[in-house]
Amino acid sequence: MGDKGGDNFWVASAGGKSSMKTKPRKDDSSGKTKKAKKVQFEYEGATQENIMFSSKSGGKGDLRNGKGDKGSNGPRKTVVKKDTTPLELLVEQELPKNVNCMMDCEAAEILEGIRDQMVLLSADPAIKLPASFDKAFEYAKVSSRFADPQSVMQALQILRKHGAAESEICMIANVCPETTDEVFALVPSLKVKKSRLAEPLKDVLKELAMLKTTKDSPFA
């Protein structure tokens, strides 16, 4: 039960934060906002760590708002369905400028290069790759569906011209959606540019489907 409470708190704090952030809608939902805030305060005294978490959470959706309410005063499932502010990716805002997003397939290629190099260097026992390297490499390998990152990048370049951010492009490559609807559902930040993106996106997805390697091949 303790776990459950903790989880609810996370959710509650994030929701409270979100209601503060979504300023334009603050007026029409002030009652809800207050409630969410109250939940946050109730828990804030609990642990230091939780406070840190709540202060870190960025903008996000009503999804958790509903959950927050649930934690405080009984189930209210309808709110969960009203997902009006979907959780958006804020990669560009959260990271410093000298950062380049990488697709999983790019990462897999680079990490493989490093691992091969380490095999040669492994005579020196002082240098050892940490466990997180193996895990990250394994993950990149399994989740990358393309054998040739360059051509994938090339295919996705068109989206950049139409205003998609680097992180959004990478996510499309990582998730490898099949339809445009899937793209807009999974990367809600693209919805704003939907009118401009829908057409080029169709072609890009077609191209990606062709570049896709069958998922089983890396394990064969």
Partner: protein
């Protein structure tokens, strides 16, 4: 998501490591110190891919250690709120399930699992739809969305959801 990033660190080196191999020593110490660590801002430092610049050393008063500012490129892995990723389920219980995407741990609470999926206890605890067509158990691959993250010194822990369109099981080990 993976990133390529340039980071800077002041490395302290003992004078016994000086000489022809100073640079090599500095780089291997950097790798030992940095690889595998994680921070809230950058996530996991997975691997160093190159050294951009090693600045002039500065002798520390009283100790003889020399501090070198080192700029290095590295691959980092950091989950973001709103990111969609594919994870492998590691444990299922009535509270929800745990999954792993590379070095990142994710917990999906049962509130964030679609309402039509019920917990089934037994040898292999799982979440199953009423018609039995979809099952989440250990080793299942799920596509989930990150909704919260917490970082401590050695690991990154996330809260995820599969209660949304286009999320859920992608590969069921039992069905394969």
């Amino acid at each position: 998501m993976f990133f390529h990033i340039v980071l800077e660190r002041n490395m302290q080196l003992h004078p016994r490591h000086f000489g022809r191999h100073l640079r090599d020593n500095l780089v291997s110490k950097l790798m030992k110190d940095v690889e595998g660590t994680c921070s809230g801002r950058h996530g996991f430092v997975v691997a160093i891919t190159g050294i951009e610049d090693i600045g002039k050393g500065l002798i520390r008063d009283g100790t003889g250690f020399v501090t070198f500012p080192v700029k290095y490129q590295c691959v980092v892995c950091r989950p973001f709120k709103g990111e969609i990723l594919e994870a492998v389920v590691t444990m299922v219980n009535k509270m929800g399930f745990f999954a792993e995407a590379g070095p990142v741990q994710i917990f999906v609470s049962n509130h964030l699992i679609p309402d039509d999926m019920e917990f089934q206890s037994g040898d292999t605890p799982n979440y199953t739809t009423s018609d039995g067509s979809v099952k989440i158990q250990k080793e299942s691959e799920v596509r989930l969305k990150i909704i919260g993250t917490r970082v401590d010194a050695t690991e990154i822990f996330c809260i995820g959801t599969i209660k949304d369109d286009f999320l859920g099981v992608i590969n069921d080990p039992a069905g394969a």
